[in-house]
Symmetry: C2
Subunit: 251 residues, 2 copies
């Protein structure tokens, strides 16, 4: 592939000086919910769990994901580091019984837990990233476990130049350590980095560290999602998806 071009003359003034885009991943780049619903529904059928899994599958996925933010907040408040894979594995143990999934063996639960590493790119993600990559350095800046993030990018064909995760900072976004790590590893110039996320809170933090910001809305929690559908700050770019982001950044 060609070296990164630096004369992105078609990019908007907001992106002047931006060399690298760092992406939130769960929600922003990939759909975690659909594969989780599918996998837990398959596991329920395998173990003979009763109930209407066309409804329970969605409930289970949301109940499972609900552990994510509180566990990360405990780490940011000083609790010992715990990976996202361990957070999700613990939550699976907690809620399995409530859904009649006690029959799943430990090995089956381990396998089911890995579904989080197989979150799927949204339909615009691979094509949009591929265009952006011609002009910018692309990295993740995700709360996901590093190993899972690498597997997800590989399985989904996500053309990132680098994988950075909170695991390497020892804190979770929006803790300052994560953004500071990204800025340091990318050479120290915060304004040369643009954080791309479908979560306003992530952009609030990135902007406070001097990074540029791009917002795009997603319905990661399902068709009824009402949060994070609009920009809630003075973001440098607002796009409809990653394909649109590429257009707005002159790619």
């Amino acid at each position: 592939m060609p070296p990164t071009k630096t004369n992105n003359t078609k990019a908007p003034p907001a992106a002047t000086g931006v060399r690298a885009l760092v992406f939130d991943v769960f929600g922003t780049v990939v759909d975690w919910r659909t594969p989780v619903i599918e996998a837990v529904t398959a596991a329920a059928q395998e173990t003979g769990a009763e109930g209407d899994w066309s409804v329970l599958g969605r409930q289970f996925a949301d109940d499972w994901k609900a552990a994510y933010r509180p566990a990360m907040e405990r780490v940011n408040e000083g609790a010992p580091w715990i990976n996202v894979d361990a957070i999700m594995r613990q939550r699976l143990t907690e809620i399995a019984g409530k859904y009649g999934l006690d029959g799943l063996s430990a090995a089956q639960r381990d396998a089911l837990n890995e579904v989080w590493s197989l979150a799927r790119p949204w339909s615009d993600s691979v094509s949009g990233l591929s265009k952006l990559r011609e002009k910018y350095i692309l990295s993740t800046l995700s709360n996901c476990t590093f190993r899972w993030m690498v597997a997800m990018a590989k399985a989904g064909g996500l053309p990132f130049d680098a994988i950075m995760t909170s695991e390497q900072a020892g804190r979770y976004k929006p803790a300052p350590e994560v953004y500071e790590m990204a800025i340091t590893l990318m050479g120290g110039d915060a304004s040369g980095l643009m954080m791309v996320a479908c979560h306003n809170y992530d952009l609030v933090a990135a902007q406070s560290h001097g990074m540029k910001t791009a917002f795009l809305p997603r319905q990661e929690n399902g068709p009824g999602q009402t949060t994070d559908q609009e920009p809630e700050g003075a973001w440098d770019v607002v796009a409809t998806d990653i394909e649109d982001l590429a257009v707005r950044l002159g790619c």
Copy 2:
């Protein structure tokens, strides 16, 4: 791209259980010396430095590189962290006068220093890595500055799934922290990782941490190089280059 295959039935017994290959980069994957010789010779012509640069270029490159290992050893002995880019930039200041390059401005020296981020893949590197990537997770585990490593992979089209560098560990290979970081980030199973290097010392350290090892000789220091031309340990795989490594690992 397809997900990583796990049934690498053609791989030798030595590679059983290996999921990821982690590569030393300077020397093993890229030729740093030729671009450095070319760049410094061009800079000498630009600034009108006297002498026979068909000879001086090689001497300068080797003199410049000579700062690399001692500076890293000082960090491993407890000196404050210093990036490879800063190490090389300092060395450039130290030796420029000796070669009649005092005329280079600070900006010209900064630009010249970046040549280390443009080290070029050996002729077998991109094709060999591309084959290996179908079956294994591929990462760097390099003493290079993270930013430089990302730039080098992008410019050279090196198809790594992840970039790990000593900068993220705060110590340089062969310090334990670097290998421990790689093992942790890749999921904790050292025997599932194979270190690939053209330096025996790197493999000694990797093996001591339970990692598998692959050696391949390079002439990174030029055609006269006599060191590291033979395996000096019981390495799991010995290959002639990365193409050959792919064959030996069943790709």
